[in-house]
């Protein structure tokens, strides 16, 4: 048996059949929802306390979770890799030696990112690489791309919208790109982003975020149009044997 359906009107067919709603409270299937990330750090506070207690395991866990992230963050801010290595080194040594004097951080990630950036900037200033806290040693860091490996089944990224995103991100000021990385990719809250960048007012960080989205909005709108068109075009054959 071969059936073809008009793809423009699948929904009415679906709703037509909706009658009295049964009770789903006891339903049995349902897999775990949108998979909850099993992050390497299950309970941050516990890990920190173990770490303060001297546990090798907790130390390794902290180190392995963050060393590459911090290093990568550094490479977006300056080209001087040796200097980044030194700062990562000093930061971890400081943590290990002074851990019983440090107040348990609310978020270890935020604590590490902000201390790391502060230390890196101090060193850059000392080496006369940057003039003041608001400048960047490297101007072309934090560039974005659409991961060519990711293939969403529901969203088709046209080559066009990929190129638009990459070009638009190059045009954004570097500080806005840094905000995108910290907020979108690392999941820092606006307030944390403001703290990391050294703003006393979180609104400044929010403004930066909004401005960067405005810079990307052409791309986003184009992307949205593409999606609209492609969802109309979805066709193909439907076989039911």
């Amino acid at each position: 048996m071969l059936n073809r359906f008009n793809n423009n009107e699948p929904m009415p067919r679906m709703t037509k059949l909706n009658h009295a709603q049964p009770d789903y409270a006891l339903s049995t299937t349902s897999l775990p929802k949108y998979k909850v990330k099993v992050s390497p750090i299950i309970n941050e506070e516990e890990i920190w306390l173990d770490f303060v207690d001297g546990s090798d395991q907790a130390l390794k866990q902290l180190y392995n979770t963050y060393v590459d992230k911090l290093y990568n963050y550094g490479t977006q801010l300056t080209h001087d890799r040796e200097l980044i290595k030194d700062v990562v080194h000093d930061l971890f040594i400081y943590l290990v030696q002074k851990r019983d004097k440090i107040k348990t951080p609310k978020s270890i990630k935020f604590y590490l990112y902000s201390s790391f950036r502060r230390r890196l900037y101090k060193t850059l200033e000392r080496n006369n690489k940057i003039a003041y806290q608001d400048s960047y040693d490297r101007q072309d860091g934090f560039k974005l791309k659409v991961d060519p490996e990711m293939k969403s089944i529901q969203t088709n990224f046209t080559t066009n919208s990929k190129i638009m995103l990459e070009n638009a991100s190059k045009k954004l000021p570097i500080k806005q790109r840094e905000v995108i990385m910290l907020h979108f990719f690392e999941g820092m809250s606006i307030k944390e982003v403001a703290d990391i960048l050294g703003y006393s007012n979180p609104e400044s960080a929010r403004n930066l975020l909004y401005r960067s989205l405005k810079g990307l909005s052409n791309m986003l709108n184009k992307h949205q149009d593409d999606l609209f068109v492609s969802s109309l075009l979805i066709s193909g054959e439907l076989f039911i044997c």
Binding site: V36, V67, S217, L220, Q224, L238, F239
Partner: protein, 347 residues
């Protein structure tokens, strides 16, 4: 999520709760967003697109420190750590010494003994973990509703299906071994000196250079290894072994445990790579399971409903509503999409 009425992808990206959810989903936030979808069914597509966009955006450059430097620093830190531990015990002893009372000393002695015992335990753990310490793991993860194609360091091409995780250790070049949870299609680079092996649940698949599909989801009863070219060895932990050649598949059920070998239909087992969903005499559980990973949705079945019968169908690059219409036509079921959940009842 009061006062949140998004009209564009941008609106989603401006909403902190959304960013928080995508980056760090919890059971609570999953529930909250599912509810939100039920109230705003017209926004689901937009939400999906915003989520996909965030998932697929990344930094153009991702730099890491290099294995040697990483290990060197970790060694330094571990040395510092043992100094710190000694100092802590010393401090503890000093504090106790200041106490003159005799019985306090007694307690101190026993505490110290305990401390030494615990330290011994920690050292032992350290030694056991020695081999692991030198290895770091690279993990590739694909959420439900997505697929991923990438190359391993030896040039092997991997297509990873929805809801799967593949990981390999930093010594991959000398030890071509990966762990798989979920489903993937491998096109293995030939290297006779370094066999390529895949650990998935209870079975290990070993090859020299071939193309084949491995399916081993935690939440499914049956695993399979299906070979497209070359020869493959499949071994279970309990000692069952099967040798496969082109066009052969081995099914393994850990519960029985039993391994059975047969021929297979390409589209049914490997079609997922080419956006083909094909069911051949599948029961409804299997159908719902496959679709929920494919479209990132969940099925809720009316508890009064008895699901029986087998289902056979093929869909090529179809949207979820179309697939459900197909299912409705050849069954006595009724589907209703509600947010990210599909409600199943009888007609």
């Amino acid at each position: 999520m009061k006062g949140f009425y998004p009209n564009t992808i941008e609106d989603f990206l401006k909403f902190p709760e959304f960013i928080e959810w995508v980056n760090n989903p919890t059971f609570e936030s999953n529930e909250a967003w599912e509810k939100w979808c039920q109230i705003h069914p017209d926004k689901i597509q937009l939400l999906q697109h915003a989520k996909d966009l965030l998932h697929s955006m990344q930094l153009e450059e991702e730099n890491s420190m290099g294995l040697m430097d990483r290990e060197k620093l970790l060694d330094t830190l571990l040395v510092e750590n043992s100094i710190y531990k000694k100092k802590r015990i010393q401090d503890h002893r000093d504090r106790l010494r200041r106490n003159t009372s005799y019985w306090v000393r007694g307690i101190a002695a026993s505490l110290l003994l305990m401390g030494v015992l615990i330290l011994g335990k920690v050292m032992e753990l350290h030694e056991n973990g020695f081999d692991n310490r030198k290895l770091t793991w690279v993990e590739k993860e694909v959420p439900r509703g997505m697929k991923k194609v990438f190359f391993l360091p030896d040039g092997t091409k991997v297509t990873l299906n929805a809801g799967s995780v593949l990981s390999y250790a930093s010594n991959f070049e000398t030890n071509r071994s990966v762990k798989l949870q979920g489903q993937a299609y491998f096109e293995v680079q030939r290297d006779e000196e370094h066999p390529f092996s895949i650990l998935s649940g209870e079975i290990t698949t070993t090859v020299l250079g071939t193309s084949f599909d491995v399916k081993a989801y935690d939440d499914e009863e049956e695993l399979h290894v299906a070979v497209m070219s070359g020869k493959v060895e499949v071994k279970s932990k309990k000692g069952l072994v099967s040798y496969l050649e082109k066009g052969e598949v081995s099914y393994y059920s850990p519960d029985l445990p039993a391994m059975r070998k047969s021929g297979f239909d390409y589209e049914e087992l490997i079609g997922w790579k080419d956006k083909i969903i094909k069911f051949n005499q599948s029961n409804y559980e299997q159908v719902f399971n496959t679709l929920s990973k494919w479209y990132d949705i969940d099925f809720k079945v009316d508890p009064a409903l008895k699901l029986h019968g087998k289902y056979t169908a093929k869909f090529v690059n179809q949207s979820l509503p179309n697939v459900l219409i197909g299912l409705e036509h050849s069954s006595n079921l009724n589907f209703k999409i509600k947010g990210r959940t599909v409600l199943v009842s009888s007609k």
